[in-house]
Amino acid sequence: MQDLGPYLKQHPFLAGMTDSQIELLVGCASNVKFNIGDYVSREGQPAKRFFFVRHGRLALELMTHDRGPMVIETLTEGDVLGWSWLFPPHVWHFDVKAVELTRAIAMDGECLRNKCEEDHELGYEIMKRFSHVMVNRLSATRLQLLDIYGKRK
């Protein structure tokens, strides 16, 4: 089986983690590929995994009754998808669909949660990085909320 260590090391999200911490992560990692049109997740389904995107594009969609599926954000190379695995009830909040051929490293949520409980150092490093991602996403989402290009009435 392929050693995913080097690929994990390359991903920007994990920059700065020690080799031994990467080794811990490898134990929860697997290599995945999504073809165009594949669903990575569906809203409400258990969030068992999260993903380090290596290549391609994933669209986060929310289904609306009047306008069909709305794409709220797209993620691409270097991004991390999914934080619902961190906190109960561990369910996906969006549909995530591959709009291009996408390769990613899937991480088993429960596996990593257990390792973080055992190794708080590892847990802190993971939490730090996810917090940063969330802060950036929140900022960006707020800008999107403002509809800055929309016409004022």
Partner: protein, 287 residues
């Protein structure tokens, strides 16, 4: 103290408030609320020469005037091109014009994007919504003398796929190897398969060397502020970042007082400013 009798001969002064008549050559729709007009001088004389970033005051018979950035090619004086968004009575009246109709034009006014000063640098152009229109002349200028610049990146964000301006032209430019274009929208429905997210999210991964980059940003003020934050985070020096400001204008030449932003007249000290000059003003409310 100035003395009336010492004034430059008043008879020799030009009358800035007199428009020059241009005829509409072509007018066509870009998106649901934007359109482009191509104008030629009605008297058949030479068209104005302008620099990227400058604007004209466009007048519709009996309705009024609006300041609109010039969005054509500075190296091709005719036709004079303007892309407008329909937001009020004058722009709506302009939308109703047909080929052969007359438009009053005063200008060109304002300061220019630093196209000459930025030779040798990487260029990052950040456009938000209709902000792509005042930046298009920069692209034309750069591509006309492409070898003078390093990497050139255009980051364009707009509301939705239906609001993408200059679609055909962007598609054509995308196929060039010496130009990096990334487009994103705030929201989309299928079948859009491109980026969705704010334009600022395109900055961290865009390909340019922050130490040798000149950035030019045009769009809603909030978008400009957040883009600047991301650029500075990446290490672009503040005095290499340029913005285009917008204010109410009644004259375009520094007399009516409406366009003041602090001590700056956006019509003649701007609309293009180097960021440090407007940094404090951009962060003050209701200035």
């Amino acid at each position: 103290m100035a003395n009336a009798s010492e004034l430059m001969q008043p008879e020799a002064m030009s009358n800035e408030m007199l428009p020059r008549l241009y005829t509409v050559n072509k007018i066509y729709k870009d998106t649901h609320d934007t359109f482009t007009m191509e104008l030629v001088p009605s008297d058949g004389g030479p068209a104005m020469s302008f620099q990227p970033g400058q604007f004209n005051m466009l007048y519709v018979f009996g309705v009024g005037e609006v300041p609109i950035s010039i969005s054509g090619d500075p190296d091709r004086a005719i036709p004079l091109v303007h892309t407008l968004r329909e937001v009020g009575s004058v722009t709506s009246a302009l939308r109703q014009l047909r080929a052969g109709d007359t438009v009053g034009v005063r200008g060109p006014y304002g300061t220019a994007w630093p196209v000459t000063e930025a030779t040798g640098q990487d260029l990052v152009l950040l456009a938000g919504g209709i902000g792509l229109a005042p930046l298009r002349p920069v692209l034309y200028s750069i591509l006309f003398r492409r070898r003078k610049y390093g990497q050139v990146v255009l980051l364009f964000g707009t509301r939705s796929p239906g609001d993408i301006l200059y679609k055909k032209e962007l598609q054509k430019w995308r196929s060039r190897f010496d130009l990096d274009i990334h487009i994103t929208v705030d929201r989309a429905i299928r079948p859009w398969r491109g980026n969705v997210g704010v334009v600022t999210s395109l900055i961290p991964r865009a390909s340019f060397d922050p130490m040798h980059t000149t950035a030019m940003i045009c769009g809603p003020e909030i978008m400009m502020r957040f883009s600047i934050m991301e650029l500075v985070k990446r290490g672009v020096p503040e005095d290499h970042i340029w913005v285009s400001m917008e204010r109410n204008m009644k004259c375009g030449c520094g007399f009516c007082g409406h366009c003041q932003c602090g001590p700056l007249f956006v019509c003649k000290d701007g609309p293009v400013f180097v960021y440090p000059r407007v940094k404090e003003l951009m962060n003050k409310y209701e200035i």
